[in-house]
């Protein structure tokens, strides 16, 4: 299965391979700077290449969205956590 790395980063592809590793083992092979290929090393019973490819595309898109949300909310997450732990004794002030 061919992956365009300008659309899906290597990190996104690797996390999808890990997420779906209960149904197949995939190897990411780099073809050139932009293009990589997932080679199916082992597929569990009940699945075939076609339905796996569909599933992988769906998971890739979900993972991209996760990253987008995570980036979009990063500053507010840091703010919330800083507030949450500012009045605890979890973190020692070394200053």
């Amino acid at each position: 299965m061919v992956i365009d790395l300008s659309v899906y980063s290597k990190e996104v592809v690797v996390s999808v391979l890990h997420r779906l590793s209960y149904i197949f083992t995939g190897k990411l092979v780099s073809k050139d700077k932009q293009i990589a290929e997932i080679e199916f090393v082992k597929i569990e019973n009940g699945y075939d290449k076609e339905n796996l490819e569909e599933l992988i595309v769906k998971e890739l898109n979900d993972q991209i969205l996760r990253e987008r949300i995570s980036q979009e909310t990063e500053s507010v997450r840091n703010l919330i956590l800083a507030h949450a732990f500012s009045r605890t004794n979890f973190i020692k002030d070394n200053g």
């Binding site: 590793s21 909310t73 703010l79 919330i80 949450a84 605890t88």
Partner: protein, 482 residues
């Protein structure tokens, strides 16, 4: 010319909202589930989800205010989430600053039962080899009171702790004698009750010692699970429960069940047995994969799917009992629901994150070795000492801030573990390094194929589905965590 803008125009101006951090996943083919940093969750139809993440959800959608009230976004009308979220997060992690509260003393490995799934017990009369002595007990106590926790609970386990009741008495009296003023101290004996008698109960009554026993269900299941001479474990347990209640008070006696292959088709009868004996709830526990349970193949006999059916059927039965006016709860669900419906959690070690190893519980074994959890010492009985933190001869700081313990806690933390870090159920889950080490030989675990992970996801989804389908169930579940 129209005097008013049409509705779409109005909401266009009004639709500005800023997402707050959240995770999502498919709940079923038509629905997404979202959860946030404090464990609030929301189900959304796929199309609504699309609108939401693309900033197109309008405030005429009934789910708009649900999402806002649960802190999935802030809009111009309210930014209270930015004040509330930190407070709720702080509450959630407050228990971490309490450090080790539960201290388990394994006072004897000897037992007069020979339960096939038991990981640790020994059918031996050899007191010298398998009993804790006063020297080790006293050294262990000195470590116990160095824990920063204000509340210290000492739990006596075995084997059968009543076979070495002399050391139980010694530890109780010594603990009371050396306890720093500011600490609250409590005691529990985990016993099969076969050896309980008036003298023991008088001591328990005098020092407010609670009893935790085992009740596996109706007589035939219990006696098959728990063979002993005379084949009367069930009769002894019921007698012991009644006698203990008479001495200590009704609520001072609790019971735990062990799920075995024979239990699986009979969950209703098991629950009925608990009701018959006037318990207010039951813990539908999965069989632990540790130690002898793996060795004896009891674990592999039934995979998590069979336990899951058992659990779901049991929970449905309990909900129906409540509908019919019999108040009764299920403990495993209660632990999870607490995380889902409140900012609190009850410190159940298997579902703690960071893992509760060493920081919520410590186990002082009969031989003086200290383990990071009860399962860790069970694993040790099969020859694997991975979770041994040291011995009662060591310094407190060498044990509880050891590189080894910190490394386990750090690497298994679910907020950074593969898959868990992105998991929509992460706030309800736990790290459980011992389970993953025992089943996958890896403390972090390969979560996509982990039975712990698969089982938990199914349980989380089932609880959410039940609440989503019935207001009655949601209210019932809320009553379990109040």
């Amino acid at each position: 010319m129209a005097k008013f803008l049409n509705k779409e125009e109005f909401y266009k101006d009004n639709q500005k909202y800023s997402l707050l951090p959240f995770k999502f996943s498919d709940f079923d083919k038509d629905t997404k589930i979202l959860s946030n940093m404090i464990g609030e969750f929301q189900l959304l139809p796929n199309s609504t989800f699309e609108d939401f993440v693309n900033n197109n959800l309008t405030n005429d959608n009934s789910l708009y205010s649900d999402l806002r009230d649960k802190h999935f976004f802030t809009d111009t009308n309210t930014s209270v989430a930015l004040d509330l979220l930190p407070i709720k997060i702080r509450t959630k992690y407050q228990m971490l600053s309490n450090f080790t509260a539960l201290h388990i003393f394994v006072v004897s490995l000897r037992c007069e039962h020979s339960c096939p799934y038991c990981q640790v017990s020994r059918q031996s009369q050899d007191k010298n080899t398998f009993d804790m002595d006063e020297d080790k007990a006293e050294k262990a106590l000195n470590l116990v009171f160095q824990s920063p926790s204000e509340n210290i609970k000492i739990e006596f386990q075995g084997g059968e702790p009543l076979l070495n009741f002399e050391i139980v008495k010694f530890i109780v009296l010594k603990a009371i004698e050396i306890k720093p003023n500011e600490k609250n101290l409590s005691f529990v004996i985990a016993t099969n009750l076969a050896l309980i008698n008036n003298e023991i109960l008088e001591f328990c009554s005098k020092y407010n010692i609670l009893i935790s026993t085992s009740l596996d269900g109706p007589k035939d299941i219990h006696n098959k699970n728990r063979p002993r001479k005379g084949n009367n474990s069930y009769e002894k347990t019921i007698e012991g429960i009644n006698l203990s209640r008479a001495y200590l008070g009704f609520d001072s006696v609790s019971a735990l069940m062990t799920t075995t292959y024979d239990s699986l088709p009979r969950v209703e009868e098991i629950i009925d047995e608990y009701i018959k004996n006037k318990f207010s709830g039951i813990f539908l526990r999965p069989l632990s994969p540790h130690g002898f349970a793996i060795k004896t193949k009891s674990y592999s006999k039934y995979r998590f799917n069979e336990w899951l059916d058992f659990y779901k059927k049991g929970l449905d039965y309990i909900i129906n009992l409540n509908k019919n006016g019999i108040e009764f709860f299920e403990h495993f669900s209660q632990v999870i629901l607490k995380k889902m419906l409140t900012s609190d959690s009850d410190g159940y070690v298997d579902l703690m994150n960071p893992s509760g190893l060493g920081i919520a519980v410590a186990v002082y074994n009969y031989d003086g070795k200290i383990y990071a959890s009860d399962e860790g010492r069970m694993l040790a009985e099969t020859g694997d000492d991975y979770f041994c933190l040291g011995s009662v001869e060591d310094e407190y700081s060498d044990i509880f801030t050891s590189e080894k313990l910190l490394n386990v806690l750090d690497t298994t933390f679910t907020k950074s573990a593969p898959l868990c870090a992105d998991c929509v159920y992460e706030e309800y889950c736990g790290a459980d390094p011992v389970f993953h080490y025992a089943t996958q030989k890896d403390i972090v675990g390969h979560k996509p194929t982990s039975e712990f992970c698969n089982r938990n996801i199914e349980v989380f989804k089932y609880l959410i589905k039940l609440m989503n389908e019935s207001k009655y169930v949601e209210n019932l579940f809320r009553s379990w965590v109040r």
